[in-house]
């Protein structure tokens, strides 16, 4: 299932299964359960589906899509000149 959106954790309260926080999605804030991301900290981005954070966005990996493209771009140039 599909619709899950990245948002930034602003505050955290509670423990374990009741752990929750205010998450900001482009300026709109919503209370989200953080029960499934126990390592998440204030300032982290999380992927949220139906009010539950299901993963922490890995910021270094997030750039990979663009780096990959650069590598392919370089390959492309090589292919064109060869």
């Amino acid at each position: 299932m599909c619709l899950a959106v990245p948002g930034k954790i602003l505050t955290i309260a509670g423990d374990d299964l009741l752990r929750s926080g205010a998450v900001s999605f482009g300026g709109v804030t919503k209370q989200v359960s953080l029960a499934y991301v126990p390592e998440a900290k204030v300032g982290d981005y999380v992927i949220v589906h139906v009010g539950f954070a299901i993963s922490i966005v890995d910021e270094s990996e997030a750039m990979q899509t663009f780096e990959y493209l650069k590598q392919m771009g370089e390959l492309g140039e090589l292919e064109q000149t060869s």
């Binding site: 299932m1 890995d58 990979q64």
Partner: protein, 372 residues
């Protein structure tokens, strides 16, 4: 919006499109499993950016589309009861059952409410102790942790007037069923990135090996899908059949362990009926005995029954990727979002609705031709 807008960049999309064209030497058929990916593909016209040799097939990634007719009927029956407040995600409201949909139940006076989260349904139960609150727990593995949590909490907090109507289905058995079908045309898969965020992707390794198909775990934004397609085509061109992860920023190999733990605590794997097929072993989730009191089917004593299905619409062939929506004789004629013949036209994510909403083959060609 961070981690959203960057993946909708025009220049980067163009570069991926050119890269895919460069490496494609033969025709390939790739299926995206998730309805949300179908939505994105058609909304952003991604197949327009691909070389002609690549065919995108739209798979059964929408639980709305595969929810059995009987379950919709059970939902409408329960929702029509005067003591019930029936809570559901918006997606389910227009899926046709044998005698109408949840929207028509609402029109006739049923208390049907759309919720954003199952937690909202539980809150409604607490606020309305004199009523029975039923939540339509639909979804693939992505939604299971949320549904598990509310059942767990309802049980822990003894919210007796709450129950769930469960229609959870699992992706790997669906993929296996597709791959083992005699008319299967799919050569590579884009696996659903949010399903895998929860479950990880180890389950797909034996599938890739057994059927020799590359499976790329893919996100939902245009760049994610383009990169996923690139990675899949590259494997196909190389003759490889591995599981790769495009959606690295969200998906880890083992998935989300705390989520899996609670899902396993509340649910067990059961056979589940898929629309028109009958049962597929181990393809769904059902409540464990400990939580059986929260099962709406049992609570409302809705007997099991079989429903005769009219086979006018070709949802099945569309979902399997054998046909495209516009190849259906009823498409955009007898079957439109206003009067859908099947779930694939009703659901926002249904391939037919996506096609109808964002593109009608003949017209797009004309517009594109004009622009040249």
């Amino acid at each position: 919006m961070r981690y959203v807008d960057e993946y909708r960049d025009r220049a980067a999309a163009g570069r991926y499109a050119r890269a895919i064209a460069r490496i494609t030497t033969r025709p390939w058929s790739i299926m995206e499993v998730c309805g949300g990916q179908t939505h994105s593909i058609v909304k952003y016209g991604i197949d327009e950016l691909l070389p002609r040799q690549i065919t995108l097939l739209h798979g059964p990634g929408c639980p709305v589309c595969v929810t059995p007719l009987e379950l919709i009927d059970k939902a409408t029956q329960i929702a029509a009861r005067p003591e019930v407040i029936f809570c559901s995600f918006g997606d389910m409201l227009r899926v046709p059952g044998t005698s109408g949909d949840l929207f028509s139940v609402k029109a006739k006076g049923g208390d049907v409410r759309i919720v954003y989260s199952p937690t909202d349904a539980l809150a409604i139960a607490r606020q309305n102790p004199g009523r029975q609150v039923v939540f339509f727990a639909v979804g693939f593995e992505t939604t299971a942790p949320a549904n598990a949590m509310v059942v767990y909490q309802a049980h822990a907090q003894r919210v007796a007037n709450f129950s769930v109507l469960v229609s959870h289905v699992l992706v790997p058995p669906a993929i296996e069923a597709l791959l083992s079908a005699p008319d299967n045309r799919t050569q590579g898969f884009l696996a659903a990135g949010h399903v895998c965020t929860v479950m990880g992707y180890e389950q797909y390794v034996p599938l890739a090996e057994k059927y020799h198909v590359p499976i790329v775990v893919t996100g939902f934004e245009p760049l994610d899908i383009l990169q996923g397609i690139f990675m899949c085509v590259r494997q196909l061109e190389d003759g490889r059949a591995e599981v790769e992860n495009q959606y690295l920023r969200s998906v880890r190999r083992q998935g989300n362990l705390p989520a899996q733990e609670l899902v396993t605590k509340v649910f067990r794997v059961v056979p589940r009926k898929w629309r028109g097929v009958g049962e597929i072993r181990q393809s769904g989730l059902g409540l464990r005995d400990q939580y059986a009191a929260y099962d709406a089917e049992a609570r409302f004593g809705i007997a099991a029954y079989a429903v005769e299905e009219d086979s006018e619409c070709i949802s099945g062939e569309v979902l399997r990727g054998v046909k495209k929506p516009h190849e259906c004789p009823a498409f955009a004629g007898r079957c439109t979002p206003e009067h859908p013949l099947g779930a694939t036209m009703v659901s926002n994510e249904g391939a037919c609705a996506a096609y109808y909403r964002y593109r009608r083959q003949d017209v797009t060609a004309a517009v594109v031709a004009q622009g040249d």
